[in-house]
């Protein structure tokens, strides 16, 4: 079971979180024209890297905040966690 550091609550067990997918995908702006290709990329296309991956988790059984987690998909090592408004480099 992963041990995830919520930037608001501190280290908590994975049980308290739910997974939310790739955090680097950016939704096209509302009310703006978007090409079919860009839209399809946003809705469907995801990379499945072996290694570092920045992803979203929600602390559903805690503060209910969505957070960013940089995790190694092969080893599950977590390098960094951040608020969604913060950047992970």
């Amino acid at each position: 079971m992963l041990y995830i550091k919520c930037p608001y609550c501190g280290l908590r067990a994975q049980k308290e979180f739910s997974y939310g997918g790739d955090a680097t995908v950016k939704r096209p702006n509302i009310n703006e024209e978007v090409s079919s290709e860009d839209w399809d990329n946003f809705v469907y296309m995801r990379k499945s890297p072996r290694g570092k991956h920045i992803e979203l988790w929600q602390h559903i059984a805690g503060c209910r905040q969505w957070i960013k987690v940089q995790r190694d998909t092969a080893t599950h090592e977590i390098f960094q966690t951040a608020k969604v408004t913060e950047e992970i480099r």
Partner: protein, 998 residues
């Protein structure tokens, strides 16, 4: 009542307390502190089971977790448990053990005929034999394999015991209380660290209990006792025996299995049987020790053959002799300690040492005590069927592959030692890549992967001095990093015997023309020839050899067989062992009960039960409940002998004719507040929300970004910046997360807050033509006329003294209202409604009637919004704005979503107007067409229309409304039904929606 193999004094058992038990029906006794194994051996019983494949007689081989053979069906404390390791299970009064895998009895087992047919059971036997004909699989092969395989019998009784889960954290977790574990725990505890010390066995001390050593002039056992009692007195230390750490998971999460009360005769009501600990440790010391491995020789599975350390443990811990005429067969010095222990108890052993004559501290001591030592010797084959009677031994030539001399010696047991294998399971599970250590011919942990530090024998250090030193150092250093305190500890003086070098010798050759079975893996009956066959047939990867031969795949996970298997493969392949590699170590280390994994999450505790504030009333009034997620909802209220069908028809009819009330508390409710709330709703829902006036509700539809309908519900504008959203019961949690996602991540610039208020409000729907009359009685001071409170209107009013919200919304398609009061007032509201409603013929209705009402109105719900439909599929395209953007809008333009023939919602009625159409039926043109019959759609929801008094269904069907008027078949192979149906509009009742506006 005498025990022929019990020593007079030796051992740590309590001779003052006798324990009686039975084995295969025979009454026996042992002492407190015995295992089933030690008590049986004391009674001279060695034949305890039959082997897996050949049904060969098997006895005990080890004295603990390494035991491959002695798995028994054990009944105790009201349980019956299969595959219990006799060498681990402690004796309790009244315990009854029976042998497994034998019929009619362990002494005379019919299945043993397999032993004489063994040429027909080579490696891969199952793969080769049960391939054809294909039709034989279900009826002949599978039942045969099922009957032949497996060992014990699982109980079919409900497990009445209590199991628990516990969550714990610590600075340092120490797994194993041998010398290195004790030293680590002690040093860390002295540094003030929070320490958990776990010991699998009932007694602490590990090898200190059996080795002839002294520490600071105390015996190993006394030193261990001293350290343990000191640790127990420290508030920062938790010391646990009968507790095995069996799994090392991600992020330093370790899981421990504690046998809390299996050894107790009596326990209090709430004492659990077993407990599972989830331990998050900052640092972990793996002091799991090592397991002796055997040398392979002919008929090496005969009862009476033991690992040499096990024989020593039976003497020193249990005061039991495994035999009175022992042969000790070894390639190293450690077995000499067993020989010396025999000698001490006046038993004369013969030592067969595969090494050439040489000298070491232990050899010299054995010599000086007059023990018969034969160098360059080994056991070729053991004689005896149900017990060892003699052994053919041979003097090896220099090449170690042929014999100078062969003779037969009498013996009643053979104690074998092929050197030591570190227990690296936990280290490997942590992700540690193991490395092969030439010096000890075994794998040891390599570079740290998580926070695991292996010490002592688990790390390949086999001397006490080294183990203690590493233990103290690592325990101290690891904990000092956490506590920032370092207490100096002087390393004690150690007195131990030095071992000489071991012999790299693992498998005894056979003389010409002799071919006895030489087992590598006892539990799965894998012999040397099986491995040879697998390699001859082209299997090269050790993982493939493992699966083909089943080497190391049994419940003992190859603890005594893996390395010998690897050595064999490397010999035949002419490769070095590290090139062959090792198979994967997986948790659990030993089998654990399903009950422990489940813990308290059974029955009522499986998941929380959500009850509405009106639940008790429903119970009192014969409600039959249905699960809606965790919620309990009344499905129908049973009157007399009514069936579900009759009751739901009565309830639904009453709504259509009079008025009914329904508990709708379970609907998801979300409070939305903030100056940008309207803008937010406008983006979330497909329809327009900017102009909804205060005091009005609106039906809304929300999509996922891929255009699929996510949920529907009404949202009401309570005040300028305050909205009340409802969701379906099932989607409540998902919708909240969805809203939070957009507010926190996508549009953080919107000033809006959302919070779930599902639990805060109790809700009741009043539906039916007489609902307005009833409402006016409930609110005598309120104008509830159609003008004052029109369809989709909202009012806040006093309900007999409590504040309430009135929504004029309808799911049933009738004139209807929904009243919300604070949850605490829910029951008050409900009872008042029942009382006031009497004169209008009001009756409560459940979810079954609710479904009927919505289906005949053509209102969609979960079965239609099934994660595959877009708004136009379910006739909701009128709610999709063309003018504004919203979540999922861009996807609606996708080509596949706009094909005319796409499956869309329709209504179905049976041609005979009588046959109910099963939900899930497939719609086909020709019921007799050849399979696969082209499927035109499926039936999503079915009901008995109370309005028209015949069955009616909703279906999602190709070409949708274009099919109206045509006839098809609804086919349900599951129910074995085929019903001719006609396609009609999905709005079967009141298609114009006049009633809700009346």
């Amino acid at each position: 009542m005498s025990q022929p193999f019990r020593l007079n004094k030796e051992g740590l058992i309590n001779r003052n307390k006798k324990i009686s038990f039975t084995f295969n029906g025979k009454k026996l006794f042992g002492y407190e502190g015995d295992t089933i194994a030690s008590a049986l051996i004391a009674n001279g019983i060695h034949l305890v089971g039959r082997s897996f494949k050949y049904h060969r007689p098997r006895g005990f081989f080890g004295a603990g977790v390494e035991e491959p053979n002695a798995k028994l069906q054990v009944e105790f404390n009201g349980h019956s448990e299969p595959n219990v390791n006799a060498t681990e299970m402690e004796l309790v009064e009244g315990l009854s053990a029976t042998s497994q895998n034998c019929w009619p009895s362990v002494n005379f087992d019919i299945g043993a005929i397999n032993n004489f047919l063994k040429m027909f059971f080579p490696a891969g036997f199952y793969y080769k034999t049960f391939m054809w004909p294909k039709s034989f699989w279900y009826k002949i092969y599978e039942p045969f394999i099922r009957k032949a395989a497996g060992l014990g019998v699982a109980s079919i009784e409900k497990d009445k015991e209590r199991y628990e889960h516990k969550f714990e954290y610590c600075d340092l977790l120490v797994t194993g209380s041998g010398p290195s574990g004790l030293a680590s725990a002690y040093a860390a505890a002295k540094n003030g660290a929070k320490v958990i010390l776990a010991e699998d066995k009932p007694r602490f001390g590990g090898t200190l209990l059996t080795d002839d050593v002294s520490i600071d002039n105390l015996s190993g056992k006394d030193w261990a006792e001293k350290i343990i009692s000191e640790l127990k007195s420290m508030p920062n230390v938790t010391v646990k025996n009968r507790s095995q750490v069996f799994g090392y998971y991600d992020h330093n999460m370790l899981v421990m299995f504690e046998r809390v009360s299996d050894h107790l005769e009596k326990k209090s009501k709430f004492t659990p049987r077993q407990r599972l600990w989830y331990i998050r440790a900052k640092e972990t010391i793996l002091s799991t020790g090592s397991i002796e491995r055997p040398i392979v020789f002919g008929n090496n599975d005969t009862p009476g053959i033991f690992l040499s350390a096990a024989a020593k443990e039976y003497m020193k811990v249990y005061g039991v002799l495994v035999g009175k005429k022992p042969l000790i067969f070894t390639n190293n010095d450690s077995a000499y300690e067993t020989a010396l222990e025999f000698k001490k108890n006046n038993v004369e052993p013969i030592i067969l040492d595969t090494r050439e004559e040489h000298s070491s501290e232990l050899i010299d001591e054995a010599k000086s005590k007059g023990i018969d030592i034969r160098f360059s010797h080994g056991v070729i084959v053991a004689n005896g069927y149900k017990k060892v009677k003699s052994a053919k031994i041979g003097k090896l030539n220099k090449d170690k592959n042929s014999f100078e001399k062969i003779e037969i010696v009498d013996c009643d047991c053979i104690c074998v030692s092929g050197f030591w294998t570190p227990s690296v399971h936990l280290a490997s599970q942590s992700g540690n890549k193991l490395k092969y250590e030439e010096k000890i011919d075994a794998f040891i942990p390599d570079k740290k992967k998580q926070h695991e530090t292996s010490v002592g024998a688990a790390n390949g250090s086999f001397t006490l001095e080294e183990s203690l030193k590493h233990g103290f150092e690592n325990g101290s250093n690891l904990s000092a990093k956490i506590t920032e305190t370092k207490t100096e500890i002087s390393i004690p003086n150690v007195n131990e015997k030095k071992y000489g070098a071991h012999d790299k010798f693992w498998c005894m050759p056979l003389p010409k023309n002799e071919n006895p079975k030489r087992f590598v893996d006892f539990q799965n009956d894998v012999s040397v020839s099986d491995i040879e066959i697998a390699l001859r047939e082209g299997y090269r990867s050790i993982e493939h050899v493992k699966r083909y031969t089943t080497l190391g795949m049994a419940t003992d996970q190859g603890r005594t067989s893996n390395l010998n298997g690897l050595q064999l493969v490397s010999n035949i392949e002419n490769k070095i062992v590290p090139e062959v590699g090792h198979t994967t170590f997986r948790p659990p280390f030993t089998p654990i009960t399903i009950g422990t994994i489940v813990g308290r999450e059974v029955g009522m505790e499986y998941m929380p039960t959500r009850k509405t504030p009106m639940h008790e009333w429903h119970e009192k009034n014969n409600a039959v409940f249905v699960d809606a997620g965790a919620w309990k909802r009344p499905r129908y209220y049973k009157e007399g002998n009514e069936t579900l069908f009759e009751a739901s028809k009565r309830e639904a009819k009453n709504v259509r004719e009079n008025v009914g009330i329904c508990d709708v508390t379970t609907l998801g409710k979300i409070d939305i507040k903030g100056p940008d709330a309207a803008e937010f709703l406008n983006r979330v829902y497909t329809n327009a929300w900017m102009k909804l006036p205060i005091g009005k509700a609106r039906y809304g539809l929300m999509l996922r970004e891929d255009g699929i309908v996510m949920d529907d519900g009404t949202t009401t504008r309570i005040s300028e910046n305050h909205y009340h959203m409802t969701t379906t019961t099932a989607q409540a949690a998902n919708v909240l997360s969805h809203l939070e996602y957009y507010l926190q991540i996508v549009w953080p610039e919107l000033n809006v807050n959302v919070v779930s208020t599902t639990e805060q409000w109790a809700g009741a729907a009043i539906a039916g033509p007489k609902s307005r009359d009833m409402l006016s009685k409930l609110y005598p001071d309120l104008d509830v006329s159609n003008d004052a409170l029109p369809f989709m209107g909202y009012k806040e009013a006093d309900f007999f003294g409590v504040p309430s919200r009135i929504f004029r919304i309808s799911f049933s398609g009738e004139l209807a209202y929904e009243i919300n009061v604070k949850s605490d007032h829910g029951m008050f509201m409900w009872e008042k409604m029942i009382e006031v409603g009497k004169e209008f013929g009001n009756q409560p209705y459940g979810t079954e009637a609710l479904s009927t009402l919505r289906i005949e109105m053509g209102h969609v719900a979960g079965p239609e919004l099934d994660g595959r439909t877009i708004p136009s599929d379910v006739s909701l395209n009128g709610l999709v704005s063309k003018k504004k953007d919203f979540i999922g809008k861009n996807s609606l333009g996708r080509e596949a979503f706009n094909v005319e023939s796409r499956q869309k919602i329709v209504g179905l009625i049976p041609i005979d107007r009588k046959s109910s159409i099963p939900e899930g039926s497939h719609i086909v043109q020709d019921q007799n067409a050849k399979l696969p019959n082209p499927k035109l759609g499926h039936v999503s929801s079915s009901c008995w229309s109370v309005e028209n008094n015949n069955p009616f269904s909703l279906a999602i069907m190709k070409d949708g409304k274009n099919m109206i008027g045509k006839k098809f078949f609804a086919v349900s192979p599951l129910k074995n039904k085929s019903i001719e149906v006609e396609v009609i509009s999905s709005h079967y009742v009141d298609p114009e929606g006049k009633r809700v506006r009346s």
